[in-house]
Amino acid sequence: MRRAQPGSAPSAVPAPEERGKIAPFPQKALALHGATVPGRIADVSLEIPAGMLVGLVGPNGAGKSTLLQVAAGLLPATGGTVSWSGRPLDEVVAQERGRCATWVPQEAHFEFGFSVRSVVAQGRFAHGDDEFGVDAALARLDLVQLAHRPVNRLSGGERQRVLLARALATAAPLQLWDEPLAPLDPRHVLEVLKLARELATKGGSVLMSLHDLRVASRLDLIVVLHDGRLRAVGRPEEVLTAELLADVFGVRARMAPGLTLDLP
């Protein structure tokens, strides 16, 4: 594994004048080597190049959420290492982590009635609460109308959009989303996918877990987890073969014309 040398490697943190933009960098945005969490995931090694929109798929209980939490530095891996843009996670202090990567939980429970806007503004905590890009993030996730509503009175899909807007506001180059599409209505699914695509085009990396394999087949890269182990990594057409789908998911794949949805 290549370690970042001071001065030679570009920092994972965008310089202050570049805030809001996502700085492109040549390294692997995320690298896991032999990541293990007993009983959940075992010996997962994975490299995600910058600028990629990556889908993490696998049956229920395969370890997708655990993998995302390990990648986000929230769950310590008992074995193996995690690095962001070539920097081992141990070298990144807490506040800087908030600028390098962000994680969106599968489900959020809000005990207190913070306004939607103030929750999204929390994404700027690691930037000294400068409010930069908060309104843009609200607009992007279709939350302007809800900006002053308390978050503990929102529907599941609305809450999910608040979390995504907060992640967007961080401007972190590495975005780790745990089933972001599950509670969303069809239009917002397409909007969020479009947003993820834009982030990747700008040089960011998005790793999201999802269950809809038809959506997954349109992403750049697919990571398949099965029983806590890495089963396959690659382009969708290489990975999502009839054999793998039958083996991992227990489903029979068939190409057929069906209902296709697109943004107007």
Binding site: Q69, A72, G73, L74, V93, A94, Q95, E96, R97, G98, R99, A101, T102, W103, P105, A108, H109, F110, E111, F112, G113, F114, S115, S118, V119, Q122, G123, F125, A126, D129, H148, R149, P150, V151, L163, R166, T170
Partner: protein, 325 residues
């Protein structure tokens, strides 16, 4: 939605109420003082009034304010820590832990050696209770589990206090002592108690800048960490501060319930959940609430502070429980 008109008002209004209550608390009592006599007493122009004001009422007023600020801020911190608006030092047994610690050293006669033995023992007792609550109910846990843990701890630590005190009939006036520690009170507080409560000021000052990270923590520890909060360090600090606040308050005034529950809750209803506002407001609001309750004890006569806060707080708590479900 939070009516924004309250926001700019909240701080000056709370401060005003606090000042009015402070003035009243210097005037009302066994010997009522008119504003003019109070003024003479404050300036030491009249001997009798000066004695009452400076030796009795001012220390009592300061202790009341310290205790109120401490308990209310402590409750606020626990609510953010456990992500549960029903958490508070009284309900979780932290106050009982402080009281048990204090009573044990009182019974052993150790308090004669130093002024600081009593608060230190209260801090030790409160820490034991805090650690037990954390072990029993994990962070972000359901109300049910948190309150059940609190019930068990309160019963256990209350039993320790009662047991120790009931063995001490020969040494202490048992009735007074038990009532004192279990019901809390501000009678006969002296400048010594003010000094004993001084760590509250320090703890409050250390808590002041933690409002912003508390916002993030109160919506989820993992999320807060992902957003750049050093969650482990923050949690350690919050836990130490809230325990010390409760313990010192308990050491100077016995267990006074419900302050840490009511004050942050009412303030949250008024100004919203942002802790940068809630931390200073709950310090002031807690001071005002305990001063007001202490005034009631003086006006009604022969009623303990803990009884007044419980009489106000009990129904309020039930209303909250009803509202939550």
């Amino acid at each position: 939605m939070i009516p924004s008109r309250y926001l700019s008002w909240a701080m000056p209004a709370t401060l005003f109420v606090l000042l009015v209550l402070a003035a009243l608390s210097l005037m009302i009592g066994d010997m009522a003082l008119s504003p003019a006599r109070l003024w003479q007493g404050l300036l030491r122009q009249e001997e009798m009034a000066a004695l009452v004001v400076w030796q009795i009422r001012v220390p009592r007023m300061i202790v009341a304010m310290l205790v109120g600020a401490a308990l209310s801020a402590s409750g606020l911190v626990m609510q953010a820590y456990f992500r549960n608006s029903l958490a508070s030092p009284g309900l979780l047994g932290v106050s009982s832990g402080g009281a048990a610690g204090a009573v044990v050293v009182l019974a052993c006669g150790l308090t004669a050696y130093s002024l600081w033995i009593l608060p230190l023992a209260a801090v030790a007792g409160a820490f034991v209770a805090t650690l037990a609550v954390i072990a029993l109910a994990r962070h972000g846990t359901g109300t049910e589990r948190l309150l059940l843990a609190g019930i068990a701890l309160n019963a256990l630590l209350g039993a320790v206090t009662s047991f120790v005190l009931s063995r001490q009939t020969a040494v202490f006036n048992r009735q007074t002592q038990i009532l004192y520690w279990l019901l809390g009170g501000l009678e006969d507080r002296t400048w010594e108690h003010v000094l004993m409560g001084a760590p509250i000021v320090l703890a409050a000052a250390l808590l002041w800048p933690l409002g912003r990270p508390m916002d993030l923590l109160s919506l989820g520890a993992a999320e807060a960490q992902s957003l750049g909060v050093d969650v482990r360090a923050l949690r350690r600090r919050l836990l130490a501060l809230s325990t010390v606040l409760t313990a010192v308050a308990t050491a100077v005034a016995g267990t006074v319930g419900f302050v840490g529950l009511i004050v942050p809750h009412v303030l949250r209803l008024l100004v919203g959940p942002e802790h940068r506002r809630l931390v200073p407001l709950s310090l002031l609001g807690g001071s005002a609430f305990v001063l007001a309750c202490d005034l009631i004890t003086r006006c009604v006569g022969d009623i303990r502070l803990g009884i007044v806060t419980a009489l106000v707080g009990g129904p309020f708590f039930l209303w909250l429980l009803r509202r939550q479900t």
